[in-house]
Symmetry: C2
Subunit: 328 residues, 2 copies
């Protein structure tokens, strides 16, 4: 029931996912409304509806959402995972509420100080995973180290990167070029059970050949929204450039397919959902603008995470980290 | 003598600036080398050469550069401003060394806690000034407030924005959505002598209609390099899209001029230099890749800053700020 285009686009995406993926989809929300939409979609049989009378509003305070618990569709989705009735949760709704519900009702994995949102970007060399993308604004170095461990596990299990290279986002490649958090995180990353390649810069996020980049959730969220905004800005400028003259319009006709492919390649929907790493369950949140295509991608990513046993893998990776974790 | 393409492109740019601007240009560096290049350029008469035997290397430690003082071309440029022999300084060299030299040899303006690098971006609505772009990685709220005051003055004097709207870079528009620095900076910005519009997000930097955006130098530098990298990534993808098929190549031929204009619009060289705000002199640094066009733009910006009496304006704005400044 969450996201700008819910429930229609969500239901549409779930129908697509049910057709293409070998799993059962549980649609959680207002049962009558959902069944009405499903009936219009010639829905496949591997979709069940789970009723939840309430919904978390987009701007709702996460504390209020937690208080309402499983009465809301979002709380119910989390509880289905907690109770073993579902193996993964996806929501395109209020991500702050989702974070709070998942953290409180699923609990973090043993030893995990903070769960983090990760986002996959279509970098030049392949998928680049950035985390934290906004769950924790002010971070401790130990959390950054755990983000690196969890991100490596996700990159390997879900994005298919065999031996992910991990970079620390900073403002120069040399050690010592960074802020206090970067300075304190570097030695922890250097001896963590990951392939740490040192500092990377903002320009490396799309161009640098790095597979996982860690930073605090403030910097990560600014970066995510800036990259989206820059893409939108450029497509907008390109649209104006391709309609500026008759010649340009003719050129654009020839280019239509190439430009459409370019746009698709840069599309957030290809990666569908941002995983919340570090909790006891596979959890993904979608962009507020999530449409059917994005839902389908997110469900595919969730299924890969389940099949690769992501949560247990992250649990083992955190447990194998030699450093005794300070209490969160 | 600084930057990847020095001294040829720098000299070329200075020749262009000398022809288009009503001022005298002082070229500082190896006199014989500079005169040899000038002679190939049919140099206009309003260029003088000032000899400096040494040069600051790109990777050189700023402390070492400060120790060498006016023996280097960069140190000499700063001293020319300090001694009143020049009214503005520009360098495309080592920006850390430039910051150190300018801060130590020119000194900050009275009441200014920290000088900051500002960069102008070609946002959808016009020039957007982001600061700090990398001079100070870990910042205090009082510094953020001063960045806003100094950035407003530059936006007005040099970028021609009548009443600049100032935003605080954060991860949500509502107050309280940010990190500890954002929370502590908000009340200071709210009563500073500027037009503060509240929080802006990463996506607003190019799309948001905001004229000045303040943040710490770590976030600002990540953002600057990410925006540059995203632009490069998109042009690269566009180049591949426009050569992917015969049809696409034909289309691209028709579009060549529009695409060239688009590229020019997004070009860092249009704004040429990043001003260092808060020191007792007009100072700009160029991108390492600075070419003749960028040098010309930077010189034009420097001349506008001088004519608008930017330094005194910033000094007055800082002095008018009701808050007694804590010692830096």
């Amino acid at each position: 029931m969450g996201g700008d285009r819910a429930p229609d686009e969500i239901v549409d995406g779930v129908c697509r996912a049910a057709r293409s993926l070998d799993c059962t989809m549980l649609l959680v929300g207002d049962e009558a409304a959902l069944r009405a939409i499903l009936s219009r979609h010639d829905a496949p049989r591997n979709i069940d509806v789970v009723h939840a009378a309430e919904r978390v509003a987009m701007g709702e305070n996460p504390v209020a959402a937690v208080r309402r618990g499983a009465a809301t569709s979002m709380g119910k989705v989390i509880d289905l995972v907690r109770d073993g009735s579902a193996e993964a949760a996806f929501s395109a709704g209020n991500s702050g509420a989702f974070l709070a519900l998942a953290t409180i009702r699923l609990r973090p994995l043993p030893g995990v100080a903070r769960a983090a949102f990760a986002t996959a970007w279509p970098a030049r060399h392949g998928p680049m995973l950035l985390l934290d993308a906004g769950a924790n604004v002010d971070c401790k170095p130990e959390w950054i180290e755990q983000f690196a461990i969890m991100g490596s596990a996700y990159s390997r299990a879900v994005l298919g990167v065999a031996d992910p290279k991990v970079g620390l986002l900073s403002i120069g490649e040399e050690e010592g070029k960074g802020n206090a958090l970067v300075d304190a995180s570097t030695p922890l990353l250097a001896r963590a059970p990951i392939r740490f390649i040192g500092n990377v810069e903002g320009g490396d996020l799309l161009l640098g050949g790095v597979d996982v980049v860690v930073c605090d959730g403030f910097v990560g969220n600014v970066a995510l929204k800036l990259a989206e905004g820059t893409g939108e800005y450029m497509f907008d400028a390109l649209r104006r450039a391709t309609t500026a003259s008759l010649g340009a319009r003719i050129g654009a006709m020839f280019l239509r397919r190439s430009l459409r492919e370019l746009r698709a390649r840069m599309d957030y929907r290809e990666y569908g959902g941002a995983p919340l790493l570090g909790v006891r369950g596979v959890c993904l949140v979608g962009h507020g603008r999530t449409d059917a295509r994005a839902v389908e991608s997110a469900c595919a990513a969730a299924l890969r995470a389940v099949k690769q046993d992501l949560v247990a893998t992250i649990g083992r990776a955190i447990a194998s980290d030699p450093r005794p974790e300070a209490p969160a």
